[in-house]
């Protein structure tokens, strides 16, 4: 056992070193690349752009309230954090190092999730195909060397921080560590608001992990109450600290208000921006409500139906966030696509893998081209890029739906082993 674990540790060390070296090398060799990528609408949204963070930092260090302007929409506690670092435009090394380290920490959390084995076997459910899995090293490599992850890291989008906290929350929930789980999830929700929707499935995951570890089942109601209270207290503390830092509660409107009401219609890969550009004024508020309700509606449905596989529910929700939230970017898709390989045992049951991967690839290559045609060349119009965002969303939603089908089919195989490898119908 010992030589095996040392072998694994060496493998991980090599992986991490290679990923860090690749990132730092790219940062050093192409000093203009981060600026280029930070300007891409696919990677930087109004709520995650590094250039806007720099503007917020500049205003913050010059005693102008950054939330009195319409440019900075990110969390207030990022300001003191980044103001400790040297100025990113003159000496970018410290910032680059920070984003590299954030990626490595995310990869570490992903490795913990993979090692926990919760993807295929939970307390209440053991997949019949649980032997079919990829090693954690392979999954981590898939995350670290994914071009989407790499591009996000190079663009220094603050979504990487959100992703780190989401992955940490998942990893800690798998390990049954309540406090760190609550801290990580509060931080993720504080940064990006929508990760709060991951709380129900991850709470179930935490409950299962705790029950597994202690071999007794804690009182579910008390467990939920305590953790909800904990999440409220920690989130409240973060918000209060932000209010004390900026001396007002104005940041709420400029951060969460912007996500809720979408005043900034800068193009991104999601479905909202063009819809609300073209929406009639009198229906704007109605559709904002409908769209947000739509995003939130998946959490209870999935959590109840797939109560036995909470990690899968959380993964599917990250996929839904990458499609249906107001300011999604490629970074959100990168998170989802890195989590999907955890469910290697479902791959044989998926039906539209080729179609979905073709759609995502098609959109990733044609998206930048069509955006160029619209904004720079002037030979296309906004519909070109809009069409590509539709294809991208469709591709991702096929993956989400197809993996959900596979998970349910897999569950059926456990419940009714006689139907294995037979044709089934939905009634």
């Amino acid at each position: 056992m010992a030589p095996d674990s040392t072998h694994k540790a060496a493998l991980f060390a090599a992986l991490f070193a290679a990923a860090a070296a690749l990132r730092l090398l790219l940062f050093q060799a192409f000093p203009l690349l981060p600026h280029r990528l930070a300007g891409r609408v696919e990677l930087s949204t109004p709520v995650s752009s590094f250039k806007r963070l720099q503007e917020g930092l500049y205003l913050y260090t010059h005693n102008v309230d950054p939330y009195h302007g319409g440019v900075y929409h990110q969390a207030p506690l990022l300001l003191p954090l980044f103001s400790f670092l040297p100025d990113a435009s003159s000496s970018p090394f410290a910032t680059n190092l920070l984003f590299t380290v954030v990626d490595l920490l995310s990869a570490h959390a992903l490795a913990q999730i993979a090692d926990s084995g919760h993807a295929a076997a939970t307390r209440l459910f053991k997949s019949s195909r649980q032997g079919l899995r990829w090693s954690s090293a392979a999954i981590v490599a898939g995350f670290l060397f994914n071009p989407f992850t790499l591009a996000t890291c190079m663009a220094r989008s603050t979504t990487t921080l959100t992703n780190l906290f989401i992955l940490t929350a998942m990893a800690k929930a798998c390990q049954g560590a309540s406090t760190t789980f609550l801290l990580a999830l509060s931080a993720a929700s504080y940064l990006a608001m929508h990760p709060i929707l991951l709380f129900p499935p991850l709470l179930v995951l935490l409950y299962d992990a705790r029950a597994d570890r202690s071999k007794t089942t804690p009182n579910a109601l008390a467990f939920t109450a305590v953790h909800t209270l904990g999440l409220t207290v920690i989130s409240g503390t973060l918000l209060l600290a932000s209010a004390l830092l900026t001396d007002s509660w104005d940041f709420l409107g400029a951060t969460y208000g912007v996500r809720l009401l979408l005043p900034d219609l800068t193009p991104n890969v999601g479905l909202w921006w063009y819809f609300f550009t073209e929406m009639f004024d009198s229906f704007r508020d109605f559709f904002l409500g409908v769209f947000w309700l739509h995003v939130a509606s998946y959490t209870p449905g999935l959590t109840i139906r797939l109560r036995t596989q909470p990690l899968f529910v959380a993964t599917t929700l990250t996929g839904i966030f990458a499609i249906f939230t107001p300011y999604p970017s490629v970074a959100d898709a990168a998170l989802y696509l890195s989590l999907v390989p955890l469910f290697r045992h479902l791959f044989p049951l998926m039906r539209y893998t080729f179609l979905a991967s073709a759609a995502v690839l098609y959109a990733s290559f044609l998206g930048p081209a069509f955006y160029h045609l619209w904004v720079y060349a002037g030979s296309g119009n906004a519909n070109f890029f809009y069409a590509i965002t539709l294809v991208w969303s469709l591709g991702l939603s096929i993956i989400v739906g197809d993996s959900l089908f596979a998970a349910l089919r897999d569950e059926l195989d456990v419940q009714r082993p006689e139907l294995r490898d037979k044709e089934v119908k939905r009634i």
Binding site: E55, H68, Y274, F324, Y386
Partner: protein, 583 residues
Amino acid sequence: MLSFLSFLLFHALIACAYASPDYHERLLLRPLPQDALLASFNFRSNETAAAYEQQNFRLFPRSLGQILQHAHTKELHLRFSVGRWDAENWGQRPWYGAREGSNGVELWAWIEASSEDEAFARWLALVNNLSGLFCASLNFIDATKTIRPVISFDPEGDHAGTSNLHLLHGILPHEVVCTENLTPFLKLLPCKGKAGISSLLDGHKLFDAAFQTMAIDVRPVCETPGQNCVVEMEQTVDMVLDIARSKRPRDNPIPRPRPIEEIECDTSKSYNAPDTCYPLDKKTEPGWKLTEVFGKPLRGACPLTAAEGPESETLCINAPPERTIEVNTTGHYTKSLSASDTLRCYKLPTGAELDLVLPEQRMTTGLIRGQPHLYAARSINGHGQERGSVQAVIKNPSPTDAVEFAYLESLPWFMKPYLHTLRAHVSTSSEDPLKETYYRPAVDRVRGTHLELRLVIPPASTLILTYDFEKAILRYTEYPPDANRGFDAPPAVIRILGPFQSADRKGLYLRTTPLLLSLPTPDFSMPYNVIILTSTVMALGFGNIFNLLVRRFVGADEVPAAGGLKGLIQGRIQRVKGRFGKA
């Protein structure tokens, strides 16, 4: 009886007007290089503060006076401008730029109010009323176009008696200034364009000029602080006419080449045919007449101006002494020379037309023109409709003096500057020219950006100011009908703080040209299609997941065979087969 009374009253009024020369007007003509002519009209009238408060308007127009009193406006500056002052060729600006405005309409006023909100409410009342008075879209100056400058403007009047003054400033760069704005402008004058120098103002020539600006300035002026105050109203028109263009007759405006016999050809060149010619530069001042370049005759003096003294000389021309000027009139006029004979002033005849005739003349002395304190140019760098950067190049021509100035930018909210990219760079010194920054960032759809900088530029050097900005995409209802033309960003206002000082309190200003900002545009024709297509993708995603969540899986062989139309037809066929089988 009644008519006799009114006759008496009329005479009394006229006598009264003659008694106190509270009305001044003057036209200053100045030939500029490249066959251009600057015409500066200035009309000034005073009303005592007491009479103004009692709404006893004599020379001050009642329509404007009542608006100002209603909006509690103590000082008003309104500008209508078209074109660009070519400082490289034309030199110092008229009035040192103090009576000049940004392209379009610019308005700033000091309003008395107890709070900022009250001041803004009165400002809105003011712009809406002025909008009606001047037939301009001034009512579009709302919160997104209003700023409160800090160092760029100082009151010109005496405001010792009033406290709580608020300065508000707004620019409409897209406003097209035209004849419908000139007519109400002329109506405010006591002689209403019927007599005096204002009879020369004609919409066709004024708005055909290479540069023109109309200004209205109202301010209280006191002899001693708080005493003997008058409300002074000044109306100014500056225009730069292209003489050759203005001389074209209105019924035949298309320029045609002159007959070849009239052109002096360059004989040092070889010609292939007798009808070709390289014209030689004539090196002469062009000949012109007042009636030709203004298109209208000058109809004698306005009877409200002073009868004698320097104030009565209302037509002046600033030209070298050797320039021949002939006066063509049937009435009585007087002429005086001043400023070592470079300024010739004429007292206009009453009730008779007057014309100045300047023949074509070869000159030995150059034209008189002052050197500007600063040169400024501003442009947008970069391409595409996503982002760009603004570059302002400001040149100090003085070999000895460092110039301190304030730089004011008022940007629309959809042009989002990144202040951390602001760089001020001087080639000749390593010292940071940026001394102070006032910045109020924009908020989407609520207010625009207000950026004010205090800069110092060393002698004989060029300052380059740059910053990046991003362009927002708007809702499709927020675009104007000509969305692909682009949006106008207002010019920058530069005020020289030192070491040069103006003799009066007007200040020294210059303005850059406005910028044209092309924003990304959505497809305006397909809101329905977008709503339908996006909804379809969302319905596909939601429907698929919802279907999976609420339905149950069963084996394919556990349920009856395919339902629907196929099943129905198959069932029928089976039944028919069965019947035939029995038979």
